[in-house]
């Protein structure tokens, strides 16, 4: 199995809390958030994770106006034999992607 296939981040959107403002779609640097086709119970299109490519940068979380609509997860340090601990790279900081 190829470890590179595992995304560094993962995204969960609470479809009931999201009001569909679309700010996260605009803000996401790797562009892995889209608006849903279907309306939720309250009549909003909601943000949805396209399923792959999240870096776990957390920008969507920061721009989202709802306190708990977005939860961001990040892959924990891999316990591979060759691995030498956590390599966070640039995604640990808030990058300055313009939108």
């Amino acid at each position: 199995m190829n470890a590179e296939k595992r995304d560094r981040g993962l995204l969960r959107v609470d479809g009931n809390e999201c009001k569909g403002c679309g700010l996260c779609v605009e803000a996401c640097p790797p562009k892995v958030i889209a608006m849903s086709e279907r309306l939720n119970h309250y009549g909003y299109r909601t943000a949805t994770y396209v399923g792959a490519g999240c870096t776990g940068c957390g920008i969507c979380f920061m721009v989202c106006p709802e306190p708990g609509a977005i939860t961001v997860l990040r892959a924990m340090a891999q316990r591979s034999a060759a691995g030498s601990g956590v390599t966070m790279g640039t995604e640990g900081a808030m990058p300055c992607a313009s939108n």
Binding site: M1, A3, N16, G22, L23, P65, P67, R79, P95, S98
Partner: protein
């Protein structure tokens, strides 16, 4: 497959703990805020809550919420909360901090609140260097009230009260509060940030964290101005609003740190220890036994016309118009009247109700807390106000199935599917007038000519006027029919 590569994820960004899990203080939709999609308040709330989590100060934080859309900040923050009168949040914060110097005190205010009616309070709190943190949310307009111009409105920016755009000749120049406060000697930290793009948002988050940190360190007055989008009132999409902050608003309000004296600052000593609580009655000359007797007001109807009407329903059902026609008709008939609309600060998904009084005697209060007629245009309104109706009063309810838990022995009820009845007349929106017709017939206090005159003043469109007249007549008829049925049944 090696278990060494099993993906394991940990949560790194989630709803901060400084927020309530569910917003139980809200009447409805307790899982989300009342803010519009794309509103800056939610984002700023989150930054504040994250900072509270980071410093572990939730249990000793007191948040002062203002008047404006963020009036309900106490719905969301699981901290000590005080909601202040319009513009007075920084004065209230002063008192709170002085009486509880160990608390983290944060005053959260909008531009209509802080820069207009509260301009004196913020100026003097800053000038005294009060050791509080102030978050100033600037969206360049009065949003909660529907978009009137504010002191912070940009030159040329249209609002309901500056339809041609703000002009410096008539309304003066946009007030630069951060720059103004930075001319004072006492403030410790002043910064203006924006929510215009990712970079600005990251900086705003740092600035708000900084203000909270200053509180934790016991330093003086911190002031963070946040340029914040208001998509609903600006009539832009959330994404366009963000761009407007960045490309338009920022030109008038440049982002900068205007004051930073935190580096070598020492904790600010409190001016004076407050007196012990038990000594206060003595200080102000009130002995403990001097508490006034129970002065509850007893309601005694004394005149032949004394209507206390509460009309309630969803926004858009014509609740306020119903009350207005009733009050106008009373005015035309020479009665004393009052009409008091009451609706939430939400721009969307709100409920509304109004208080109407008609009397031959001067009206002491326009508030109707114990109606003798309740017009409930939907079930939530009935459940909310049913218990408040006076004994022998009337409940007019829009719906034929009267909820069993609302049934009372001591009130009269007229429950009919008024919306469907109005629909049969030609337009479901006339349900309010059918209900008003029934009310007028029940109250039997106003001549039809006065009602006609009121309707003519308030409903200009001839088609709706004609529809409303028919709806009123139908409402009167329905009540008479229901009385006949009761007589036959009896």
């Amino acid at each position: 497959m090696s278990s060494e590569f099993i993906s394991e994820y940990e949560v790194i960004h989630a709803k901060p703990k400084a927020f309530y899990e569910t917003y139980a203080r809200k009447d409805e939709l307790q899982h989300q805020t009342h803010y519009c999609p794309g509103c800056g308040h939610g984002t700023i709330h989150k930054m504040l809550a994250q900072a509270m989590d980071e410093f572990g100060i939730k249990d000793r934080t007191i948040l002062i919420s203002p008047v404006g859309c963020s009036v309900f900040a106490y719905y969301y923050f699981d901290v000590g909360n005080v909601q202040a009168a319009h513009g007075r949040a920084s004065a209230v914060a002063t008192a709170v901090k002085r009486s509880r110097p160990e608390s983290i005190v944060i005053s959260y205010q909008g531009d209509g609140d802080l820069a207009a009616i509260g301009s004196a309070e913020i100026l003097h709190a800053a000038n005294r260097g009060e050791p509080i943190a102030v978050i100033f949310v600037n969206n360049a307009i009065y949003s909660m009230t529907g978009g009137q111009f504010a002191p912070t409105t940009l030159i040329g920016q249209k609002s309901t009260t500056t339809p041609g755009g703000r002009s410096a000749i008539h309304e003066g120049y946009p007030l630069h509060v951060s720059e103004l406060l930075a001319t004072l000697e006492a403030p410790m930290y002043i910064e203006r940030v924006g929510l215009g793009d990712n970079r600005q948002i990251a900086q705003a988050s740092r600035a708000i964290r900084r203000a909270v940190e200053n509180q934790v360190r016991g330093l003086g007055f911190s002031f963070i101005e946040v340029l914040s989008p208001c998509p609903t009132i600006w009539r832009l999409s959330p994404v366009e609003s963000q761009r407007w902050v960045r490309e338009v608003m920022e030109k008038t309000y440049p982002l900068a740190v205007f004051r930073d004296r935190t580096k070598d600052a020492q904790p600010r000593p409190m001016p004076q220890e407050p007196p012990a609580l038990d000594t206060i009655p003595q200080i102000i000359g009130v002995a403990n036994g001097d508490v006034p007797e129970d002065s509850a007001i007893r309601h005694e109807p004394v005149t032949d016309v004394d209507l206390h009407v509460r009309v309630a329903g969803f926004g858009g059902q014509g609740v306020l118009l119903l009350g207005e026609v009733l009050a106008e008709a009373g005015l035309d008939a020479g009665l004393e009247v009052s009409w008091l609309p009451s609706y939430g600060p939400e721009m969307r998904s709100g409920t509304s109700n109004c208080h109407v009084r008609l009397s031959r005697e001067p009206i002491d209060s326009p508030l109707v807390t114990a109606p003798n007629v309740l017009v409930a245009m939907n079930e939530p309104s009935l459940k909310k106000f049913d218990k408040s109706v006076q004994a022998r009063g009337w409940v007019i309810y829009n719906g034929d199935a009267f909820p069993p838990e609302c049934v009372r022995e001591d009130v009269h009820v007229l429950a009919l599917p008024f919306t469907q009845i109005a629909d049969a007349l030609g337009d479901a929106r006339a349900a309010n007038m059918v209900m008003l017709g029934a009310l007028l017939e029940i109250a039997d206090a106003l001549p039809q000519t006065s009602v006609d005159a009121a309707l003519r003043r308030l409903v200009k469109n001839p088609r709706f006027f004609e529809l409303d007249e028919r709806a009123l007549a139908r409402g009167r008829e329905l009540y008479r029919e229901s009385v006949r049925e009761v007589c036959h049944a009896g």
